[in-house]
């Protein structure tokens, strides 16, 4: 796509013309995007729109990590999948949808759970990470891996009728552990599978995750670092609040932090958070 002198091919000029026309984006930001790579961890409610927009907008390489298969009860919010793919790997299903939209983007399939044993190797191949997972131990693990490898982390979450979004470990800003040094009690850790979620709420947050990843990748605008977006869907209230900066005492990114690749590999995130990385959802009794 991008030749060695930074020129876009005629097809790319046509495909991305709406970006190239933008004075505050233009050829330079598009060229940045085309040479960047983003890893999306989780091809579910948040990952669906994030993957579609990253691919459509022209990120050069998009990686997808998930170990799950598509189920009918995912389709209420996971719009990258469809009925024909029920039972198929979510990564394969999502990759096929991305390739259909933009065959010029390199889509990389990681059909495995993201674990301390493979995390460093997978993540090291990408510039930017999107956390689109649904559980507490994964959020600490992905954060620590981003800190060890120095990758910006676009973190989104959705539950019920609320959503949250921020950018961690970016340009001297805080990491997830700076905000949450101690894991919450397990009774406070609800998942969509336990408590429900209105399908379009992760849609909004996932789109905003793609937006922040595009801004970081293209080097435009002010990413949502040191700030957090809070969405309350029922009342249609969205606030962007100011959060703390990097903590000198942070055990991942602080002054005396000892989080290294070696330590990361042997850290027990399930024990630390007292929550499993993966569970079968509760049965619904109506």
């Amino acid at each position: 796509g991008v030749s060695s002198n930074g020129q876009l091919s005629a097809d790319m000029v046509y495909r991305y013309s709406r970006h190239l026309l933008l004075p505050s984006f233009g050829v330079e930001a598009q060229a940045n995007l085309l040479t960047s790579s983003v890893l999306v961890i989780g091809a579910g409610g948040l990952g669906s729109p994030a993957l579609l927009y990253l691919t459509a907008c022209g990120v050069g390489r998009v990686g997808i990590v998930d170990h799950d298969v598509v189920e009918l009860n995912n389709l209420q919010r996971q719009i990258i999948h469809n009925e024909a793919n029920i039972g198929r790997s979510k990564v394969e299903s999502a990759a096929a949808a991305c390739r259909a939209i933009n065959s010029t983007v390199q889509i990389v399939e990681h059909k495995e759970a993201f674990r301390t044993s493979n995390a460093l190797e997978i993540m090291s191949k990408y510039d930017i990470v999107i956390d689109a997972t649904d559980n507490v131990p994964s959020r600490y693990m992905i954060n620590d891996c981003c800190v060890v490898l120095g990758k910006p982390l676009i973190s989104g979450a959705a539950l019920g009728l609320e959503g949250q979004l921020t950018v961690y470990n970016y340009n001297g800003g805080p990491c997830y552990r700076c905000l949450f040094p101690t894991p919450p009690p397990t009774t406070a850790c609800q998942r969509c599978s336990d408590s429900g979620v209105l399908g379009v709420v992760p849609g909004v947050i996932g789109c905003l995750q793609a937006l922040e990843a595009i801004k970081v990748a293209a080097a435009v605008g002010e990413p949502l670092s040191g700030r957090m977006l809070l969405l309350d869907a029922l009342s249609a209230r969205i606030r962007v609040v100011k959060i703390r900066g990097r903590s000198l005492q942070c055990e991942a990114c602080g002054e005396n932090a000892t989080m290294t690749a070696q330590q990361f590999r042997y850290f027990d995130y399930e024990k630390f958070t007292q929550s499993p990385l993966s569970t079968s959802p509760l049965k619904l009794n109506l």
């Binding site: 959503g163 919450p184 009690p185 609040v241």
Partner: protein
Amino acid sequence: LCANLKLLAMQLTLEFGGGLELLCNSLKIHKVNVDPQDGEKLTMKHLLAWVRTNLIKERPEMFMKGDSVRPGVLVLINDCDWELSEQLDTVLEEDDVVVFISTLHGG
């Protein structure tokens, strides 16, 4: 006398989110009047005790731990993380908006 009484009780807006509203009758926004503890100042520490006594209807351990909030709860005073002010020692002012929000993990 009325003017004095009005000066004593401080009007605040308290908001609960991320599931914490379930501990307060599922109501997210509470307009409250809180008396300063020593007749002068109202600190966050005092407000937390007040909230626990007056608003939290169930499972207080989901809201507090010791005399602060439990891990995983963000406290925002006028849209700023209380870590940017004096946390428990922050002195509140009339019409302040204090948000308690539990971090979400779903996706």
